[in-house]
């Protein structure tokens, strides 16, 4: 289930500056947003064979937005998480060239966290209409029934 952290570190040392650690989530690689796509490509073509991007999500950390890529190797049955963070309103570089499964989750994440999507073949909004606030930011409140009724 958990890949070898030392092997991951030695693999990534030749690709970009990244830190790998073992957390409650599993093995997590922290990378800068510019290096994330290169690291995903390196993990995919490595002997770990992380051939599938299982999930992609954003998290609002208050001062910045953290993007988590969740990769899986079916041959070894191991998972790895790559995390990078962006400023609010920053540019999310698309990973869809490496993993086609990033196509829709990236559109959703960019829309719901107010990010700009770059390098994506179809960077439109996915779920909500134009002008809708980025819903998943913590600064966007949920309105109460009374607030909705009173406009």
């Amino acid at each position: 289930m958990l890949p070898d952290v030392t092997a991951v570190r030695s693999l990534l040392s030749g690709v970009a500056e990244a830190e790998a650690e073992c957390t409650s989530l599993g093995v997590v690689v922290h990378a800068s947003s510019g290096d994330a796509v290169a690291i995903l490509a390196a993990l995919k073509s490595s002997e770990f064979d992380f051939a599938v991007l299982i999930d992609l999500l954003g998290t609002d950390l208050g001062d910045r937005v953290e993007i988590t890529y969740h990769l899986r190797s079916f041959t070894r049955d191991e998972d790895i998480f790559v995390k990078s963070s962006l400023p609010h309103g920053g540019t999310l570089q698309s990973a869809s060239g490496v993993f086609a499964s990033a196509l829709l989750p990236e559109r959703e994440t960019a829309e719901l966290f107010g990010l700009v999507l770059a390098g994506h073949p179809n960077p439109k909004r996915l779920l909500t209409t134009e002008g809708q606030e980025p819903l998943l930011l913590r600064s966007v409140p949920i309105r109460t029934v009374k607030e909705v009724r009173d406009g």
Partner: protein, 375 residues
Amino acid sequence: MSPRAAEHVEHTATGRMVFDVGSQHPSTHGLLRLAIETDGEEIVSAEACLGFLHRGIEKLGEHRRYHQLPTLMDRGDYLSGIHGELASALAVERLRGIEVPPKAHWLRSLLGEINRIASHMAWYGTFGRDAGVTSHFFYSMRDREALLDILEAVTGQRMTFNYVRPGGVIADLTVVAESKIRRFLRTFDAHLDEHQTFLGGNELLQKRLRGVGVIDRDSAMSLGLTGANLRASGVPYDVRRDRPYAAYSELEFGIPIGTTGDAMDRYLVRIEEMRQAARIVRQCIEGLPEGAVMAKLPKALRPREGETYACVESPRGELGVHLVADGSETPRRFHYRAPSLFAIAALEQMLPGTLLADAALLVGSVDIVPGEVER
């Protein structure tokens, strides 16, 4: 060009046409609009236009206590509520370190498999409707109603159960419910053979399904497909076997795999999954241990700061919950990994090159639930 498209049509110079398929169609189990561009009878490009069922489940989850999360998950994939509830409960249990009583594990597997057959029955019925068959639908609803009746007898609800909670399940199996399950099992295998003869045994349907909507092994993996869609393409990955949860490590079941990844394989894999699910239900009923069904927990759960990912094998694939806790009563981030979202992307890749008449069939063959896609 697809080998099934009519020959010599490129000279008719009719021009391309863009139109909408949907947003209401029986095969979508909800609302899904496909903007399809066609050249004659052949689809050139397809784009899924989503947003009809976006309810902000992830945002709402950040404002709910931990044991309220299953209520929200029910409304995601409403055809298989137990699996959504289970994924969120597993994530909370993992973060908080909760020990679940053995009987609750077995009841989770039991209800999960009953729900799986009920969900596959809804798929089977609507899938045949997409292919132009009507009468089998009533046979599929006969079995689905029996299953929903069982689920109602155990949980009190037909679809949004709210049955699995962090720490266990809310109710034990009653004598009435158990006898209903036994009665269902007595006839189900024969009913499944009947279904298989009725729809899958029909030569016309087989001809329509073979070689259509092929997803090969590599593209299935790169598109992030899971569940029956992935297994039909020949990847033997099942969360129940590879990362056992609930009572699956103690249960015996087969995992059907396809070879070509076409619509026929996806059909056959799901039919066989129902047979295996009935096998698991039988084992659960026979081997159900005694004891409590819910662990003793405080009113408000406050997991330590941390992050976790828990996944289950829902009828549509790997349903995951990614939970970030900050030590308070509500999650910092609650993310729902929906298998149907990835199936929609696969659908967009699969449709170009096929005939327009097969579009509805292919939507049915990947078994999507828009409620889960948009959350």
